[in-house]
C-alpha cells in the first residue's frame, strides 16, 4: 500500500450560498467568491505541504456544495460507500461522485433506496470502530447496513444540535485512540458512548466549536483547522500534534470548514483498517498471516494517548 496520503478536493468555482439546508446558510449572507477561492487554495497548499497528493473533482455548475467532498462517500478499503443525500438540493451530486469513484478504481457501493447517508460527513473511523452520526442527515438504518457490509462495529451517535448537523462538525478522530469532540452536539447517551469507547477525548469549547474546531483535517501529526481555535491548538500541541490554522470563513457561511472540503481517499490516519491493509502489504510471499508489527504514520500512543 502506498503510504502517500491522498485527498480529494473540489475547486470552489461554482461555490455559493444558493439555498438554505442548515442553520449556517443564509442567502442574504452570500460567500465572497474571490475570497472563498483564496481560502480554498491556501488550504490545498497546506495539505499538499504535508506530503499529501491532492486529487481534484471537477466542479459542476448548479452544484455549489460539491466543494464539500467529505460528503461524497465513506471510504472503506477500496470501496466507496456513496452518499444518499437527505436534501434534494444536494442529490444532484450523487451521480458525479459515483462516476469519479468508479473511474478511479473504487468499488462503488450504493445504500438501498430510501436510506440517507452523507459519507465521511457522518461516518468516521477511530481505531477499529466506525463512529457514525444520525438523525439530522444520515439515518440510523444506514449505520446498520454499513456495519453488516463491513463487519465493523458501528457506534451510532445521535446529533441533537442543528448547527452540528454532520458528525464531522463536532467530532474528529486524531488517531486510533484519541479524538476531538464538542459534547453539547450529542445527547447524553452519545456523550457516554464516546467516553466509554475512546481512551482520550479532547473537549472543544462552545466558541471554538462554532469556529468549526472539530472540522479538522488530520494528516499524520498535522491538524488543519479554521482560524479561531486557539485553545484547541494549544491542547493539540501539548499532545504532540502540529496544529495549523487557515482562514475558512467563507465556507463556514455554508456550514463547512477544513474537513468538509476534503475526503481522505486512502482512509483517515485514525482508521484501524489502514493498519490491517499495511500489515497485509508487508506479509512476505508464502506467509498466511502477518508476523511483523505494523508500523504507524501517526503519533504512537504515549502515556497521554
Amino acid at each position: 500500500m502506498n503510504d502517500t496520503p491522498r485527498i480529494l478536493m473540489c475547486p470552489p468555482d461554482y461555490y455559493g450560498i444558493q439555498y438554505e439546508i442548515n442553520p449556517w446558510m443564509n442567502r442574504s449572507r452570500p460567500a465572497a467568491h474571490a475570497e472563498a477561492c483564496r481560502q480554498w487554495e491556501q488550504l490545498r497548499r497546506i495539505l499538499a505541504d504535508t506530503g499529501a497528493t491532492i486529487e481534484l473533482l471537477e466542479p459542476v455548475p448548479g452544484l455549489p456544495d460539491l466543494v464539500f467532498t467529505a460528503n461524497a462517500a465513506m471510504i472503506y478499503q477500496q470501496t466507496a460507500y456513496l452518499s444518499r443525500f437527505r436534501h434534494p438540493e444536494r442529490q444532484g451530486e450523487e451521480p458525479i461522485n459515483a462516476r469519479w469513484f468508479s473511474e478511479h478504481g473504487y468499488r462503488v457501493e450504493r445504500l438501498p433506496e430510501g436510506y440517507y447517508f452523507e459519507g465521511a460527513g457522518d461516518a468516521l473511523f477511530c481505531g477499529d470502530t466506525l463512529y457514525a452520526g444520525y438523525r439530522i442527515r444520515t439515518d440510523i438504518r444506514s449505520h446498520q447496513y454499513i456495519s453488516r457490509k463491513t463487519g465493523r462495529r458501528v457506534i451510532s451517535l445521535e446529533l441533537v444540535d442543528p448547527y452540528y448537523y454532520h458528525l464531522d462538525t463536532c467530532f474528529c478522530p486524531l488517531n486510533h485512540e484519541a479524538a476531538v469532540y464538542y459534547p453539547a452536539a450529542f445527547d447524553s447517551y452519545g456523550q457516554r458512548a464516546l467516553r466509554e469507547n475512546i481512551p482520550l477525548l479532547v473537549e472543544v469549547q462552545p466558541e471554538e466549536a462554532r469556529h468549526f474546531a472539530c472540522n479538522a483535517v488530520v494528516v499524520g501529526r498535522r491538524v488543519v483547522t479554521n482560524t479561531g481555535c486557539a485553545r484547541l491548538h494549544q491542547e493539540l500541541r501539548r499532545l504532540g500534534f502540529e496544529p495549523v490554522e487557515t482562514p475558512l470563513s467563507e465556507f463556514v457561511k455554508a456550514g463547512g470548514s477544513a474537513k468538509c472540503l476534503t475526503l481522505r481517499l486512502d482512509g483517515e490516519d485514525a482508521a484501524g483498517w489502514r493498519r490491517e491493509a499495511k500489515a497485509a502489504d508487508s506479509v512476505p510471499a508464502g506467509l498466511d498471516s502477518p508476523s511483523d508489527t505494523p508500523h504507524f504514520d501517526v503519533p504512537a500512543a504515549d502515556g497521554n494517548l
Binding site: 477499529d128 444520525y134 438523525r135 439515518d139 440510523i140 438504518r141 449505520h143 446498520q144 456495519s147 453488516r148 463487519g151 465493523r152 462495529r153 458501528v154 457506534i155 451510532s156 451517535l157 445521535e158 445527547d187 447517551y189 452519545g190 457516554r192 458512548a193 466509554e196 469507547n197
Partner: protein, 415 residues
Amino acid sequence: MSGEQPARVSVDVEVSGHIIDSLILPKILDQILTRGGRFEIKSFQIGQQRDDPSYALIEVQADQWSKLDEILASIADHGAVPVNNLDCRLEAADLDGAFPEGFYATTNQRTEVRIDGQWIPVEDQEMDCGIVVDRQERKARCVAMADVKKGQWVVVGYNGVRVYPQERTAERHSEFEFMTSAVSTEKPKGVAIRRIATEMRQARSEGGRILVVAGPAVVHTGSGPHLCRLIRAGYVDVLFAGNALAAHDIEEALFGTSLGVRLDRGEIAEAGHEHHLRTINRIRRVGGIRRAVEQGLLARGIMFECVRHGVDFLLAGSIRDDGPLPEVITDVLEAQRLMRRKLRGVTFCLMLATTLHSIAVGNLLPAWVRVVCVDINPSTAIKLSDRGSIQTLGLVTDVEPFLRALVDELEISDC
C-alpha cells in the same frame, strides 16, 4: 367487564447493531418509558465478538394506539422498527359461505387493516366475522361466515391488523363510569335511570339512532304503555323483537289479555290461552301487522305505535313460535342480515327483558354502541358481557318500574 384495567395495545419492534456499545438500546427503552409506554424484552442476542452486532426483540405496550404510534415514531428514529410492519395478508375465498383457513376472526372493537402501507378502518364492525377487502376501492368490512362469496379477498393471519380497545374512560360516557361492575343489583336504580335518560337524549340530539330490543315480558308485566310513550316521543328508532312480543302486544290490543291474563285485573280470562293463537290467526288472515293497522283492526299497542310512527321494526323467528305473524322472519340468517343493515347508525341500545334476542343483538353490535340491559335475571347481562359485549350496563330489575321511571325521567307527558 374488566373496566378497572386500562386497555393495552402492543407492537413488537426489533433493533439490531452495536446497540449496547452505542447505548442505543437503553436510549430506546428510556424513550418508551418517558413517553408513557411499557416494554418487555422478548428476545435478546448479544454479539459474541466486539464487531458482532446484537439484536433485541421488544414488545412495546401502551394504553392506546395514539400513544403507541407516538412512541413507535420516536423510537423508529433510533432504529427500532416494528416486526409486523407488513400489510395484511389477503387470500381469495375459495368457496361461498366459508373463509379460507387461518382467516382473521374479528372482535367488536374498532379495527384497522393495513393495505399498501396505509391503515384502513374496517366498516360494519362486528365480532366473530371475517374481514373482506375491496382492493380497488381500498375498503374493508366485516362479513359473516355465511355471507362470504367465492373470490372475495379475505384477511388471513394477524399481520397488518390492529384493534383499538374501547376506551372506557372517554368523557362522553363518564356518566356510566360510576357503575363499573357489569351487573348492578345493589346500586341505586334512580341514579342509573337518570343517567340512562341523559344518554338517550344525547344520542337523539347527536343524530344517533336508538334501538330497543324487547321480550314479551314487556307486555306481560304491563309495561307496554310505557314503551308506547317512548315510541310516541321519538325515543325509539329501531325495534328488534320476536314473534312473542308482537303476538302478546296485539293480543292485548284485541282481547285485553297477554298470554290469557287480563292485564287490567291480573286474572286469567276464560279460554284466554287461546287468545294469542286467535290473535296470530286474525293477523295472518289480513296479511300482516301493517295491513291490520291500515284496516283499523289494530288500533293500539306497541306494534300499532311502531307502524304509526315509522319505527323500523324487525321480528325474528324461532322454532317454538306459534304462527308466526306474517312479518316474522323465519330464516335466521336472513334475519341476521337485516338486523345488521338496520343497526347502522345505532348509537344506543336498550335491551328489555329478553335473553336470546339480547345476546343475538349484542353479537352484532360494535363495542362503541352503549348497551343497557334491563332484566330481572342477572344472568342475562352477565351472559352478554361474557360473550364480548363488554360495554353493557346491566340493571337487574323488573322491566315495568324501570320503564315507568325512565319515561318520567325523560319527562314524556303526552299521555
